[in-house]
Symmetry: C2
Subunit: 325 residues, 2 copies
DNA sequence: TTGTAAGCGTTATCAG
DNA sequence: CTGATAACGCTTACAA
């Protein structure tokens, strides 16, 4: 059996209180007592029970992170950044990969809301989850609209969409296709599409978009992207909704004998560090992952301290000049 | 204040015991009581306190995952796979990205060992952490040697190293350089290097390796990889320790005007799904990520049930035939 | 400087 | 079928 406070107390011939005081370095204690207690803890290899402490303190020092998938580099880097910073603040993180499955998200939520976490950072993309309302748990959303009470951190999607589209047009593309997430969601990322459509229209070009569900397999995705080239053999520009898709499309373009950038221009989205290093050629819109993480934590901390926050924080994007556009 | 069991009990005019019974669907209860209680819970928007349950049950239903970094696709996919499967078993996961920093790992460990988690899956690469001994917490290691008591899941590193090296040789490379992790660690991954060296020697070739610390920046990494081409302008083959590095090296090769595969053959390692889809051209040794995750959980479950396990489980690797070698 | 006792929010035993 | 009550392991008034 794991030793508990009481065992230490008995071995050291003091009370539980005293041991607790030593443990938490609180109150006045004689050096002698302190030594005795440490000795006993050592002997028993004592480790305080975190759960008991959590119960008393009503604080778990755990933050929940709910994201679609950690295997997409954008989320991977974001989660890593968040974890790193939370760790240095003394928090641990529980991660839920919702895979954008509403059931799973709802489930996670219910569990996490039950005093399991001190706060929540949510970056999944589902609608109609009302649970987020009924708690006064500090929550921050990343790139996701939830409700009035929950602040959203996002990068400037409209500007990103505009920059991408203008870049493609300026480099001579006329038939530009945009891949997006599912049409049905109301997320800040939709502003990319708005920007794309407005920019296209402004230049007298016809916007065309293909929406791709998250959480489908690579095989299915490849199927959809193939279809683009079948439906539009004359496509000469693609604005992909993320870098992984951009690269997938590049692979498929090859099969259709399209050379990049001669026959087809491509712009991606996200610009995670790992992508920019592995494939610097890909022209892409860079979301400031580190700044997003910083801002999310800054706002979460405000909420944890019950302070006021804005309801939206928009961070600037930049463009990475590769050779695909 | 959050409502508690007692509040529900009062509102429903029953005892805490009864509410608890309803909550856990245990024992005999009249339908009337059940309805009353559910009503009260509804009205108060009651949610049971997980921490209190954890304390009583001495079980948190949390598994700790300690990995170097979730932003490398190999670990990203592995962690995702583990999370997905643990979730379906009713576990949540606390993730620690150790960045291979021994301090951080030790710290995480200490915290997690304190009754915070029911089990641990460790895939970081540090030495000399003795803490793992003194607990009877179920632990499983992935690709990491810890101590006799802790079962290790790994893919067949020797075979992987041999296949990679032989492939390079067979395709005509003579001056083949191998990049590895730090020399100082005793990990199963070292068997790749052994295999590389033995295979090279067997073919009368001179093994040369460059060791690259984890947790250095991309800039530093690039520096080291640059050095390879400066030190060995006649290099015609590279066996990289992972796919990310393989791609980094490909970028650098370009700068040195080496065409792939004409002037330089490259074989990577890991073969995560995302990599194989984004860069199908990269010839690489594929670790069976899903099987590793499955086996790790199978073994962890055995440990959780206090059953015997083997001390080592080795899973087969395969080769992905790209065009870089 | 140290100890006693109550309480954090559950669950299970045992009695009715 | 239902209710007191103790217990899970720790922290903190309050007392001494």
């Amino acid at each position: 059996m794991k030793p508990k406070l009481d065992d230490v107390a008995k071995l050291a011939n003091v009370s539980k209180t005293t041991v607790s005081r030593v443990l938490n370095k609180r109150g006045y204690l004689s050096q002698e007592t302190i030594d005795k207690v440490y000795d006993a803890m050592e002997k028993l290899n004592y480790q305080p029970n975190t759960v008991a402490r959590q119960l008393y303190n009503k604080k778990t020092n755990i933050i929940g992170l709910l994201f679609p998938t950690v295997s997409n580099p954008f989320f991977g880097e974001l989660v890593e950044e968040l974890e790193k910073k939370l760790y240095s603040q003394g928090y641990k993180v529980i991660i839920g990969n919702s895979m954008n499955d509403p059931e799973k998200e709802k489930n996670y939520l219910n569990q996490l809301l039950s005093n399991q976490v001190d706060g929540l950072i949510v970056g999944t993309h589902n609608q109609n989850i009302q649970q987020y309302q009924n708690e006064n748990l500090p929550i921050v959303a990343i790139d996701r609209i939830m409700n009035q009470d929950i602040p959203v951190i996002e990068s400037d999607n409209y500007s990103g969409g505009k920059q991408a589209t203008e870049r493609l047009i300026q480099k001579g593309a006329k038939k530009i296709i945009h891949t997006t997430g599912p049409d049905t969601l109301d997320t800040p990322a939709n502003r990319r599409r708005e920007a794309y459509e407005e920019t296209m229209t402004y230049h007298g070009l016809q916007p065309i978009h293909y929406s791709v569900d998250f959480n489908i397999s690579y095989t299915e995705k490849t199927g959809i992207f193939n279809q683009i080239f079948i439906d539009h053999p004359d496509v000469d520009g693609v604005f992909a909704s993320n870098d992984v898709d951009a690269l997938l499309i590049m692979q498929i373009a090859k099969k259709f004998n399209k050379n990049i950038p001669e026959d087809l221009l491509i712009v991606g989205y996200d610009g995670s560090k790992i992508m920019r290093n592995m494939f610097p050629n890909l022209t892409t819109i860079v979301q400031p992952i580190e700044e997003i993480a910083n801002k999310a934590l800054e706002v979460l901390n405000l909420r944890l301290e019950k302070q006021e926050t804005l309801s939206e924080y928009i961070l600037p994007v930049s463009i990475w000049n590769g050779s695909t556009c």
